[in-house]
Symmetry: C2
Subunit: 331 residues, 2 copies
Amino acid sequence: MAEARFDVAAIGSAIVDILSRTDDQFLTDNGMVKGTMALTTAEQAKLIYERMGSAVEISGGSAANTTAGIASLGGKPCFIGKVGADKLGEIFAHDMKAIGVEYHGGENRPTKLPTATCLILVTPDGQRTMNTYLGACTEMSPADIDADRIASSQVTYIEGYQWDTPLAKQAIRKACQAAKGAGRKVALSLSDPFVVDRHRDELMALIRDDVDILFGNEDEIFSLYRAADLESAVASLREAGALGIMTRSAKGAVVLDGATTIAVDAAPVAKVIDTTGAGDLFAAGFLFGYTHGRDLTASARIGAVAAAEVISHMGARPEVSLKDLLVKHGL
Amino acid sequence: MAEARFDVAAIGSAIVDILSRTDDQFLTDNGMVKGTMALTTAEQAKLIYERMGSAVEISGGSAANTTAGIASLGGKPCFIGKVGADKLGEIFAHDMKAIGVEYHGGENRPTKLPTATCLILVTPDGQRTMNTYLGACTEMSPADIDADRIASSQVTYIEGYQWDTPLAKQAIRKACQAAKGAGRKVALSLSDPFVVDRHRDELMALIRDDVDILFGNEDEIFSLYRAADLESAVASLREAGALGIMTRSAKGAVVLDGATTIAVDAAPVAKVIDTTGAGDLFAAGFLFGYTHGRDLTASARIGAVAAAEVISHMGARPEVSLKDLLVKHGL
């Protein structure tokens, strides 16, 4: 196999996050379910924005955050998404390139829709509740996928979120085919328990046919297998055949590799400020280790360190060099 | 005199800050003077943005930050500035209104220029170096000033930065006239030592004729009076006749009221992350105290607490309720 140009090619929504602190009452008053992602229309997004407090704008998007983490660790990521021809699209593109991510925003097939935004309400407990208006992301299609780039990436990483967008699903099928055809690995993040609930059968089929590495938190994996307890969730995850990684917030993470189980602790955090991006950065750390010849335990530990950094501040991308942080942690 | 509707009416540039961490070498390589503000053309701004790292976008603007601080303290501020008819203009307007600032963005006289941006490079020492593209701000004119609103504000607060924009200067002259005609106070922030150097004579005339309260840091006041040492700077400031407030970073601040000198210490900060907005928030705290019947010492202490909060994180506006913070500090 030819040497890969990229460690990870990630396909996901290109989103600018609009983060604001709020209290639990705001979530209740606006019918939001804490810790989850809801899709909104442009009109709903406008209404929520009018009600929410002053905000900061930071490039986000789940898989895009993961590539930002890999770049910060010193890896070679590329990102495929779609932005609008507008200011937020410029901001998103700038932030990807500035951090060292090879970026493909579908510029060759422009869309008239605006760049996606995610209105994120951060409660005092550090939990984030997200309201996404997908905009330009809904027009990502197979034509935006460069099969050569996918074939030249060790791992193709897919957001579960993409299952909410029919065209994007087709794009992902094309990418999976290109990856598998080149003997590369496919990784999937389950993204959100409600996404899993909406698309369970299709996600199960994808996992069975194409997925080599599956990331999910407890809620997502419970939802996927309609599991009542951790034991049965783990049993189902083990049966799926893929390398399974279950993140468990403060309880760390569990890696399931065939019959083997590896548990790693969460890395310490002085104060949890904003959990946005925790799973994305765990995946970044794990995939960086995985694509750099580290064993599963070391890879999961790198994931834990990356996740701990991102929850210690507002925003879903690292504020410091994760490469330097790994050195400090002896990894 | 009728009761004032507003504590402070601030006139300034409506700017969205684009903040990125960098090192000293970047400043040197790009010919920037640390800790100061440089004006750029749209083309220069584009070039700097391309070179700088991934960023966060947060509403800023010196006088606008001051009004945000006054609102966070529980006061009644209004802000007069000018944004473009674009996404960043929407963001700026949202953030002002969301924090409780009565906002006038010149919507009745739309401009085709984009909303102003300030590319802020934050070095590891927490210092900020700013590159401002004024865009829509250059079209703020006397027509944007509602004399009734000015007449109904206890203090009209002006940015020295406005002296770089000929039309804005006329707007400020109109505002000063309205304030003075109504027996209200006028406050001026010197903003930047180079601004002072560019417009020394006009600023001196304004101070002599209209300014009741003058804010400046050491560099700015040294520049204004071409002073060689603190003693002669203070002597000149005292002669000016206005209430003089000199901020001195970690050394606190000095209030000069006629022959009286009041020195207050800086409020403690665990770690200085980003000094953007320190002077703006000191002015917010001082003016809140001043317009709420507090004495000069208490007003300056409130300023010190507000400034300490804003330098403890990225961005130039308070992240927590300053009102609550005052209670904690027994103020």
